[in-house]
């Protein structure tokens, strides 16, 4: 799949922008703050209905505007689909596909899939677990609308339950309230955990393969570390939703007293981690700068390969990766992602050298204006 045309309305520093893109590499050059990354961010809205840069919806609205819109013509399976996402401040996000308004945001899932690479990726293996959970979640959300639904409902139920725990008092009514939210937490949470565990073997294989190609040395392994007793493992034999639910329930009972004292939820997929091991050691505690960088690239390439596993292609977004990689490494990464399909790449420097025969188009970005070069 690839994006033929991209349209932005009141998005970040763009009032109105229309871009015709190339099926191969699209290169955006410009100074810091000129609006290069915003273009990639807009694309991420068409794939997952949110900013993969981590911004909130109201943050990306152009200053003084009531809302924003992102639209794209996406070529896949021999047809062109036109998809639009609109957001109004204080309101909801609406999705339109081929001119028809959709009931749910998850109707967008699968129309466009993206893999986002950025310099902060090195924190994937160095930093806290939230970035690694995000990697799993964003992959699954693009593959499975049921997962997207379970995840957003889980987040909602979690916030409701935390609020109920915060005002908990030792009486029957208070306990009854916490318990209905525990039930919702278990319902959506076991779907989330089971979904992640099902993905793990596929992701681990792809990641290990890329890592071997790049580093050649020790094997990179992934392990899902769950705060829910009994579901920790390498995921070779992933537990069913019912199995996860039953151990999640046991864990909630185990921490019940503690949760009521501290006023928030202590176990569940929102506290789980994806452990990355190099050889037989946890990479996070001993890895060198270079090992972290290689592992992060392998993880992201693995994600992209899993997203492309049905052969429909994935659009690769490369945000300023040349600031972190030297020319040679950047070139070999470009070659690897080139096999996956269309790429949109930003840089403060000039366009990279490309393998012969690769189609590309260059743009110059300057203060909210994009000119084709």
């Amino acid at each position: 799949m690839w994006i033929k045309a991209l349209r932005l309305t009141d998005f970040r520093n763009y009032g109105r922008l229309e871009l015709d893109l190339e099926e191969g590499l699209n290169f955006f050059a410009g100074a810091n703050g000129s609006g290069k990354t915003s273009i990639l961010e807009a694309v991420s809205y068409l794939a997952v209905a949110r900013s993969l840069r981590g911004a909130s919806d109201s943050e990306v609205v152009r200053w003084g505007s009531p809302g924003f819109g992102v639209g794209g013509d996406i070529v896949a399976d021999g047809t062109v689909r036109s998809s639009t996402l609109r957001f109004t401040r204080g309101g909801k996000k609406d999705v339109t596909l081929d001119g028809e308004k959709q009931m749910k945001l998850s109707d967008l899932v699968g129309v466009l899939r993206v893999a986002w690479f950025c310099p902060e990726d090195t924190w994937l293996t160095k930093g806290g677990p939230s970035e690694r959970r995000k990697l799993l979640d964003m992959t699954l959300c693009q593959l499975d609308p049921l997962y997207l639904d379970a995840l957003s409902n889980y987040r909602r139920a979690l916030r409701q339950r935390n609020e109920a725990l915060l005002s908990w008092t030792p009486d029957e009514e208070s306990e009854a309230l916490v318990s209905v939210w525990s039930e919702r937490l278990l319902h959506y949470g076991s779907r989330v955990t089971a979904g992640r565990m099902r993905l793990l073997p596929r992701l681990a294989d792809a990641v290990a393969c890329f890592h071997e190609n790049i580093a050649g040395s020790d094997v990179l392994r992934l392990r899902y570390r769950s705060t829910t007793a009994g579901v920790t493992g390498s995921g070779d034999d992933p537990p069913t939703e019912d199995e996860v639910r039953s151990s999640f329930n046991d864990s909630l009972e185990r921490v019940a007293a503690d949760e009521r004292r501290r006023g928030f939820t202590l176990v569940g997929p929102h506290r789980d981690d994806l452990e990355v091991r190099l050889g037989d050691r946890a990479l996070r505690t001993f890895g060198s700068q270079g090992q972290h960088r290689t592992a992060a690239i392998a993880l992201k390439l693995g994600e992209a390969a899993v997203l492309d596993s049905d052969g429909r292609g994935v659009v690769v977004l490369l945000d300023d990766i040349m600031s972190e990689l030297d020319d040679q490494r950047a070139a070999s990464l470009l070659e690897l992602v080139g096999d996956l399909g269309q790429a949109l790449m930003t840089s403060t420097r000039g366009a990279p050298a490309l393998a012969a025969g690769r189609r590309s188009r260059s743009f110059v970005v300057e203060a909210g204006e994009v000119k084709r070069q």
Binding site: P66, T88, K104, S106, D107, D144, P145, L146, D149, N153, R156, A157, R159, Q160, R161, E163, A164, S167, E173, A176, L177, V180, W181, E183, R184, H187, Y188
Partner: protein, 199 residues
């Protein structure tokens, strides 16, 4: 600086507070109103005031009515054995349009949501428990939205009504009637599969 005279500007702002009406629609409506006759405007104003003064919540079921108890609660032809629990008065209207339900209603007035500070004491629960305890009531149908809040509230109600000798049921969710299986989204189809029933 506004382009409109102050009174017109004020009208636009008030209209824009209404649900589903943005600044643009509000401006269109306001311009139409100031262009119509004084009689038409007075009629509209009178209708707004009259509707808001006369419409009250039924003291039995909570639905909107002009006379208390409401027409549904007092209709002898409706079954008094089944009570359908809904979130808002507008849900009563939606269910009435189906002409399939011949029982009575109970409007909760909201859903449990600790985040919005809505607890059991903010919902019309005491009167529901009292109604469910009446001798002739045999079934309570929970017709709440299948959201996190709706499902949590349904479970809370099911437990609350556990003591009463009534059957508690929930609306089914599944494939839209007249719809095509391959057009149904995965979530709807998955739920329909989970909640399948014997033929």
């Amino acid at each position: 600086m506004s382009l409109f005279p102050p009174s017109l500007e004020r009208l636009v702002l008030i209209l824009a507070r209404l649900p589903g009406i943005g600044k643009k629609s509000a401006t269109r409506i306001a311009l139409k109103l100031v262009g119509s006759s004084e009689a038409d405007c007075r009629e509209l104003a009178r209708a707004v005031v009259e509707a808001s003064e006369k419409t009250i919540g039924c003291s039995t079921c909570g639905a909107l009515t002009e006379c208390d108890p409401c027409a549904i609660c007092t209709d002898p032809r409706r079954e008094s054995t089944v009570i359908c629990v809904v979130e808002r008065p507008s849900d009563v209207i939606a269910l009435e349009r189906t002409s399939r339900f011949r029982g009575r209603y109970h409007v909760l007035g909201g859903l449990l949501s600790p985040l919005d500070g809505i607890g059991p004491e903010d919902l019309r629960l005491d009167s529901l428990v009292a109604r469910a305890g009446a001798d002739d009531v045999s079934e309570i149908i929970l017709a709440l939205n299948p959201t996190a809040e709706g499902e949590a509230t349904s479970l809370y109600l099911a437990r609350l009504l556990d003591g009463a000798r009534v059957r508690v049921t929930k609306l089914a969710s599944g494939i839209p009637v007249g719809g095509d299986l391959d057009l149904a989204d995965e979530l709807t189809l998955g739920t329909a599969l989970d909640e399948r029933r014997e033929l």
